[in-house]
Each structure stands twice: as C-alpha cells, then as structure tokens.
C-alpha cells in the first residue's frame, strides 16, 4: 500500500542530508514508487543548484590578510597604550553618555529651580506670617481672667458668705 506523499519540508531536509537513517530509508523507499514525490525532489534540487551556482566568484581586496593583521595589531597596541598610560583613556562620560548626563542634569536643575523654588517661597511666606502673628500676640497684654471675674470665688471658701 502506498504511504502518504513526502512533505516539502522533509524533501528539503533530505536534500540537505539532515534526515535520520530510518527517515532517509523510508523516504527513499517511497520515492521509488511515487512519481509525484520524485518530481517534487527534482524541483527542490533545482533551487540548491541555483544557490550553489551563485557562489565562489567573490575575491577579497588585495593584501587583505595584511590589512587585517595590521588592524588587529594597531587596535591591540592602542588598547595596551591606554592601559599603560591610563591618562589617555576615554573618560567615562563621553559621547552619547555625556549628552544624556548633561540633559539629565539640566532637567534636574530646572525641576529643582521651579518646583522647589515655588515650595520654598510658599514656606517663607508662611514663616513670615507666623512670625507676624507671634509678634502681634506678644505685643498684647494677655493675662488669664481672675477667679473673681469668673465668679468662682466659692473655690476659696468665701463664696456666698460675703455680703
């Protein structure tokens, strides 16, 4: 009995040599009997041929290896120079980091300047009002009312007996 057709994905793997031995044998067996799947294999093979044909003509520039070695040695020497001198090293805050830090500081300064400034002004105003009130209160002669004034003479034991 004929089994199901081989999927395109399996054919792709088969041509790439990425199937297990068991799968490979099963598919090969099916391909012997199935014309439809054999045609599919031919179609997928054509892609592989085109892909391989497009390759192998690009040459690197002249003295490329020397350029690479020179570049690597220059970079390594520069890095070693920085490590040795220490002074020539790039500062921590440079380039983009520096810009971000500057913008951040300006924003923080603006925030502190506006919000905190407003709050400080309000606080000072309140403080000033408080000082004024204390000054007014301290300038007045505020004394507690006497017992007689309050009609509480009886506390001293002479309430109602004095005529």
């Amino acid at each position: 009995m004929r089994t199901q057709h081989v999927t395109d994905r399996k054919i792709s793997c088969l041509l790439d040599g990425e199937l297990s031995l068991a799968e490979h044998e099963a598919i090969s067996l099916h391909l012997d009997q199935c014309q439809v799947c054999r045609e599919k294999v031919v179609r997928w093979q054509r892609i592989d041929q085109y892909l391989r044909h497009n390759e192998r003509k690009i040459a690197p520039p002249a003295f490329f290896e020397q350029k690479i070695l020179a570049h690597v040695h220059r970079e390594v020497a520069t890095a070693a120079g920085y490590m040795a001198t220490g002074g020539n090293r790039r500062p921590y805050l440079c380039g983009l980091k520096f810009r971000f830090a500057t913008v951040g500081l300006v924003a923080l300064g603006f925030f502190l300047g506006t919000v905190m400034g407003t709050k400080l002004t309000a606080f000072l105003v309140r403080e000033k009002e408080g000082i004024d009130i204390i000054a007014v209160l301290s300038s007045q002669d505020i004394s507690s009312p006497s017992i007689t004034e309050l009609g509480l003479d009886f506390i001293n034991g002479n309430g109602g007996e004095s005529s």
Binding site: R52, I58, E65
Partner: protein, 203 residues
C-alpha cells in the same frame, strides 16, 4: 619555542592553532587569519552586499577572536565559533539596515538601490558552456533568486547562506545562531520555499 613547534606540526587543525595562540604564539593567529579571511569575507559579503562593510566586519571578527581567545570553548569546532562571531556582527548590520529602510523618509533608500545594482546581470552568473538562450534564461533565473534572497529576513538569509554556501550542518548553524535544530530547519525551509515560489512564477 615548544609551542611554536607544536603549532607548526599540527597546522592543519584550527583547534590546535587557536590553542597555540592561547598559549601566546601569535604566528598561530596569523595562520588563522590566512585560513579564514577569504571565506569570512565571502560569507559576510553574501549577506551584506557591501565591500567596505564586509572588510570592516572581517577585521572586527578577527579582533574579537584576538581579544577573547580565552573564551573559546574547545568542545566545539573553531569554525563554528568564528562564524558565530561574524554572523552576529553581520546580522546586527542587516537589522540596522532594515530599520533604516523601515524608517526611511524617502521611498527608496541607498540600500535598496544597492540591491538593485547587485541584482543586475553581471559576470558572476555567466556560464559559458551553455547556448545563448539557455544562458539568458539561466541568468534571469539567477537574478530572480538573488532578488528573493535579498528580500529574505536576516535570520533566514543567514541560515540559508551558512547551509548552502558555507556548507555547515543544521547542528552547526543551530550553535552559531543560538537556536534549536527545528528552528534552523524551519528557517532554511521557509527561505527555500520563497525561492521556490519565485521560480514557479517565472516558469
């Protein structure tokens, strides 16, 4: 001196060269540069289609090998490691180029114009063994395939190039791209499927 001799004796193995370099023999590094500069240049050029950028990335790849040779894990082939470094650099460039294109204010970016230029017929596709009609048809097909490859997403393009051009296995590609085997299979299959669809349209 002993390391140097050891390096010379086993100069066929990449792993021995990198081991020799790890032990301080810079000649081993030079041999690796001689061995890998051209394949890496071709590989990166295939992905980026830009000579200057490809040269820069090959140089950067070797610089990273030089600086982080101690991080090389000898459990895996050296080839996988160096292709992994080059792939990451190339995919970063491809992704940023894609983003530039996406956010490009003008409809046609420089990169697209480059792609058109590279998709044009050139000596790369000429096969002198065929008759003119067949040759023309073959050239047209190669151009169409090249156009489709240029439009693939960076990961599909990378997986396809590593497999079809560099001849790496799915397992090696999985290691390079840091994904599982099934994902590699899927990326390559989808890339080939797109090419297949393009071929069907043209035929």
């Amino acid at each position: 001196m002993v390391e140097k001799e050891a390096c010379e004796l086993k100069e066929n193995s990449d792993e021995d060269l990198i081991a020799g370099f790890q032990q301080g023999n810079s000649e081993c590094f030079e041999k690796l540069v001689v061995r890998y500069s051209t394949p890496l240049y071709r590989f990166i050029y295939r992905l980026l289609k830009d000579e200057g950028e490809s040269q820069d990335l090959v140089q950067e790849t070797f610089l990273r090998v030089y600086r982080s040779s101690s991080q090389y894990n000898p459990q895996y082939p050296f080839r996988v490691w160096i292709y992994s470094i080059a792939s990451h650099l190339a995919v970063n460039v491809l992704n940023s180029a894609r983003r530039r294109r996406l956010f490009s204010f003008w409809g046609r970016s420089e990169h697209e114009q480059d792609e058109e230029q590279w998709a044009s017929p050139d000596e790369e596709f000429v096969d002198p063994g065929q008759n003119p009609e067949e040759e023309f048809s073959h050239q047209q097909m190669c151009i169409s395939i090249q156009e489709v490859i240029n439009k693939l997403n960076p990961r599909q393009k990378l997986a396809l190039t590593l497999n079809k051009i560099e001849g790496l296995s799915y397992k090696e590609i999985a290691r390079i791209m840091d994904i599982n085997l099934s994902a590699v299979e899927s990326l390559i299959f989808r890339a080939k499927q797109k090419i297949q669809q393009e071929l069907s349209k043209k035929m």
